[in-house]
């Protein structure tokens, strides 16, 4: 299987399209009223240009390409990894660099890994764990099933798709499976599916990491290994177990399968007949079809945090690759229709009793929780501190609950709430849905 993963050299033209204007530094909307807020977690924390947004990353990329900056310098290596790759800066940029910003950042990291210097030490453990255990959490395979214990106890076991056919594969993801706090997410998802009678199964101990974390920290080889394995598994499940839909509650897995797996030369062939959905998309369909009916009231004041991976990372950019429309490599337009902005909000608002309030920074201008791009592993303290800033923003709305659709955000924001001793509690949207459904 061939993979079309760009090198920094391939992207040189694009990071030279950055004008260094700094528009990327803050979220801005003319309105009226005008709206301006910080959008870059690294810039907010570290302040110096270079750390700041896509302008700074273009400087780093130029420095690498002209030989001024090398990964022998541990401070520089660290700076390249001190970015959540959240895409907040990308949302502001107006020039041809825009569609390629996260790619440039990750390409620098791939250079760092290729040089032997990257990723950061804690991230190296993560990648080694993937090699050893097929997950980044150093968890033995059998532990992957721990989250299913309540189902066994309740004598409502979850189907193992390796042995029993099902139309829906619930791809759990490593964070939901191994992270004690985030286990609430797959548990709520599975309970909802059972309540609704969805014919679904899981891969159980044989589930392999989606590869998102490896890709985010620049280890393209490890990503390719697990992604190739998963594409082959998906194809087999479709052919032999009747899987037509892959559903995941993990924003990272969803982003990887939707946006990273398509870099495979055989993606279309391997995924023929299979639809990939985030749980929210799947449940929203059922809501519209009248099959998802809420009965219980949740008298909660709720705000919603848009994860980067289910939001602006799903932007589809139109680039004039052959120069027939504008000029070669011109950024033409952006299509936000695949970003999951409205669906979670519509579901939240449909839950009886819920009072919904918005934070200032939402949708494309959502402020990253601070956990993405390998930061939660590489710079745990900063990730928690940044999450505290987001929690503070949530508190300013008067909400008691912050809801999201990503186990990474769920975990990191929970840490952030603890850090600032906030009373706000984190919930995955599946937890609200589960609670609002009849038993």
């Amino acid at each position: 299987m061939e993979w079309n993963i760009s090198s920094l050299k391939d992207l040189e033209h694009y990071f030279w399209r950055c004008t260094a204007c700094g528009t990327c530094r803050s979220a801005y909307d003319f309105g009226p009223p005008p709206f301006t807020r910080p959008i870059c977690p690294a810039g907010t924390e570290f302040g110096f240009e270079g750390y700041y947004s896509s302008k700074g990353k273009a400087a780093f990329a130029r420095g690498i390409s002209d030989g001024s900056l090398t990964f022998d310098d541990p401070e520089f290596l660290e700076a390249v990894y001190k970015c959540t790759v959240c895409g907040g800066c990308q949302n502001q940029c107006q020039v041809d660099y825009k569609p390629h910003i996260p790619e440039v950042i990750e390409a620098m990291r791939r250079e760092a890994v290729k040089s032997g210097a990257g990723p950061m030490p804690a991230q190296k453990n993560l990648v080694q764990s993937m090699k050893n255990y097929n997950n980044p959490y150093q968890g033995p395979r059998r532990v992957r099933m721990d989250w299913t214990r309540p189902f066994k106890k309740a004598k409502t076991p979850i189907k193992d798709i390796n042995t029993e056919p099902a139309e829906v594969l619930f791809y759990v993801g490593c964070t939901g499976a191994f992270n004690k706090i985030a286990q609430a997410v797959p548990q709520a998802t599975a309970r909802i599916f059972q309540k609704l009678g969805v014919a679904f199964g899981i891969l159980g101990e044989s589930e392999v990491c989606c590869g998102s974390t490896a890709m985010r920290v620049g280890d393209a080889e490890e990503f390719k290994r697990v992604a190739t394995n998963n594409l082959e598994t998906f194809k087999t499940l479709h052919a032999e177990k009747g899987v037509k839909t892959i559903v995941t509650s993990c924003a990272g897995c969803f982003r990887a399968i939707k946006k990273d797996y398509i870099l495979s030369s055989e993606y279309n062939q391997m995924m023929d007949g299979i639809e990939v959905l985030h749980t929210v998309q799947y449940l929203h369909r059922l809501l519209k079809e009248g099959k998802l009916k809420f009965e219980k009231e949740l008298p909660w004041k709720v705000t919603y945090h848009d994860p980067c991976h289910t939001g602006r990372h799903l932007n589809k950019f139109r680039v004039d690759n052959d120069g027939s429309e504008l000029w070669e490599g011109a950024y033409v337009s952006v299509d936000e229709s695949e970003c999951l902005y409205d669906l979670p909000r519509e579901i939240i608002k449909a839950i009886p009793g819920v009072s919904f309030v918005e934070m200032d920074r939402i949708r494309g201008n959502s402020y990253c929780c601070g956990g993405g791009g390998g930061v939660m592993t590489g710079f745990t303290d900063w990730a928690g501190k940044n999450a505290g800033l987001r929690i503070q923003e949530g508190m300013e709305t008067g909400a008691e609950k912050m809801v999201s659709i990503c186990p990474f955000c769920y975990f990191n924001l929970t840490e952030g709430a603890k850090r600032i001793s906030s009373n706000i509690t984190l919930h995955d949207l599946t937890e609200l849905i589960d609670l609002a459904l009849p038993d």
């Binding site: 700094g22 528009t23 530094r25 803050s26 780093f60 900056l69 401070e75």
Partner: protein
């Protein structure tokens, strides 16, 4: 490929001291950080600072300046780095002082109509805060993240030029740290601590810090006049086939002083983005477009302004000019009436097609010289395969104003950058010889200004600089003295 900045000497003793003054996290000599400050969007060649520091308090800046003055180390003030004159690129290394953490809006006085801000306050930030009081400022066509203070003290242009004057004319008071570390105040705040309403009737000492390109001190607080937002906007848009006819219209309309912004742009600048390299204008397209923003408090006032404008249009048509009432290209109009804007800001409309680079001969030029200068610029720029993307804006109550050509170029290519630089410097010489003066000038421009300057002016300039900055540490070299 564009030039790689040359390595500089870093002294660990200096780094240590800077960390003591600014705080451990606010001072660095790391190469990758210095590299990120070594260039901007202009043709000015990249140069590395030796150290970068971030200030959080006035006291830190004072201590830094005392130390730098003692050690005779250059200090380059920096807010957002969005100027297009290379003003924050160090000519002689030194300490780059990043002020963007000092971003508090200290006060908005909605009754007296002024605001007091720190240097890191951005246009976007202030626009939001002022809007809550239904107030506004002269937002430039720069990025929303650009600094209000830096724009104002460097005689930046804003969208209310024709009504209230340049942004530097809006300055009401200042607090400044001198290159020797003393804290000074000019304007009413010098007499009463909390009074920031006016630089008059005291001696206009604010002139010591305006237009000096960061060469005389660090402005740590700035008072600026702010104005109510009239609810009725009307934009008058016309086109002409030639610059002479457009000048005639602007001259006529400006006599009535009804516009907040009276601007004309050549066809090339009306495109989003500016064509790069030069592309011929379609024969049927007019060569000049004008937008004139008027804001009125009542419908009747708006109608009165419309009446005046219609009278001017009739008069111009009777003269037999090519003036037509026309539609301004939609996105370009939005970019110039919805400020601050991400569409402009030296990005999408300016550089998108060329890639990374933008510079200008940006000048204050007598209006009666606009047409002859434009005609020469056009020929010269086309000769360099560059679009003559020129703007003319009339200032408040006078017949002079901004004449500038926004020249994008491909910064990845050293040859294309040099081609643009040469053309721009040649354009500047033409304008200087017609009585124009460049604002926010890169050193290449400073040299041309000084060649033509009265010896007494240069002597005075040197003497004032020497008085305020005896060791020539404040952004040295930028005045090309």
């Amino acid at each position: 490929m564009t030039e790689i900045p040359k390595e500089s000497k870093v002294d660990p003793r200096i780094t240590k001291k800077l960390r003591e003054i600014m705080g451990e996290k606010n001072a660095t000599a790391a190469k990758h950080i210095r590299y990120a400050y070594s260039y901007d969007m202009s043709f000015v060649k990249p140069k590395l600072p030796d150290y970068v520091v971030m200030a959080e308090t006035v006291e830190q800046i004072q201590e830094l300046m005392r130390f730098a003055n003692l050690e005779k180390i250059p200090v380059i003030p920096y807010t957002a780095g969005t100027n297009i004159g290379g003003l924050c690129i160090p000519e002689r290394g030194g300490i780059l002082l990043d002020l963007k953490k000092m971003n508090k809006i200290i006060k908005i006085d909605p009754e007296s109509h002024y605001a007091v801000i720190e240097p890191g306050v951005s246009h976007g930030q202030l626009a939001e805060a002022l809007y809550a009081h239904k107030l506004r400022f002269g937002w430039p066509v720069g990025p929303p993240s650009a600094s209000v203070s830096s724009c104002a003290i460097n005689h930046g242009i804003g969208g209310l030029n024709a009504r209230y004057g340049l942004n530097s004319q809006e300055i009401t008071s200042m607090e400044v740290v001198l290159p020797t570390g003393e804290l000074v105040r000019v304007g009413s705040c010098a007499i009463v601590e909390d009074a920031w309403h006016s630089t008059l009737p005291l001696p206009k000492l604010d002139g010591l810090f305006k237009g000096w390109l960061g060469g005389t001190g660090i402005v740590t607080k700035l008072g600026i006049g702010v104005h109510p937002i009239p609810p009725f906007l009307k934009v008058f848009t016309v086109s002409c086939d030639n610059v002479e006819d457009m000048y005639s219209y602007m001259l006529n309309l400006s006599n009535y002083e009804i516009c907040d912004d009276l601007t004309a742009v050549s066809w090339w600048l009306a495109q989003v983005p500016i064509p790069y390299p030069y592309r011929e204008k379609p024969d049927e397209a007019p060569e000049w477009f004008s937008f004139a923003n008027t804001n009125s408090f009542t419908q009747k006032e708006k109608e009165a302004r419309e009446e005046i404008w219609e009278m001017v249009v009739d008069e111009e048509k009777k003269k037999g000019t090519s003036l037509k009432v026309t539609q301004y290209p939609e996105e370009a109009l939005r970019a110039r009436t919805q400020l601050p804007s991400q569409i402009v800001g030296s990005t999408k409309n300016y550089c998108k097609m060329a890639g990374a680079g933008i510079s200008w001969p940006g000048t204050f030029t007598p209006a009666n010289k606009w047409a002859p200068v434009y005609t020469e610029w056009k020929k010269l720029l086309i000769g360099h395969n560059l679009s003559p993307s020129v703007r003319m804006s009339m200032y408040r109550g006078v017949h002079y104003g901004m004449l500038r050509a926004m020249i994008p170029f491909n910064k990845q290519s050293a040859d294309e950058t040099e081609n643009a630089r040469r053309a721009i410097v040649e354009c500047l010489k033409i304008d200087l010889d017609h009585g124009g003066i460049p604002y926010k000038p890169p050193v290449d421009f400073g040299q041309e200004i000084n060649k033509r300057a009265h010896p007494g002016y240069l002597m005075l300039l040197r003497r004032v600089k020497q008085m305020l900055d005896p060791n020539d540490i404040m952004n040295p070299g930028k005045l090309a003295l």
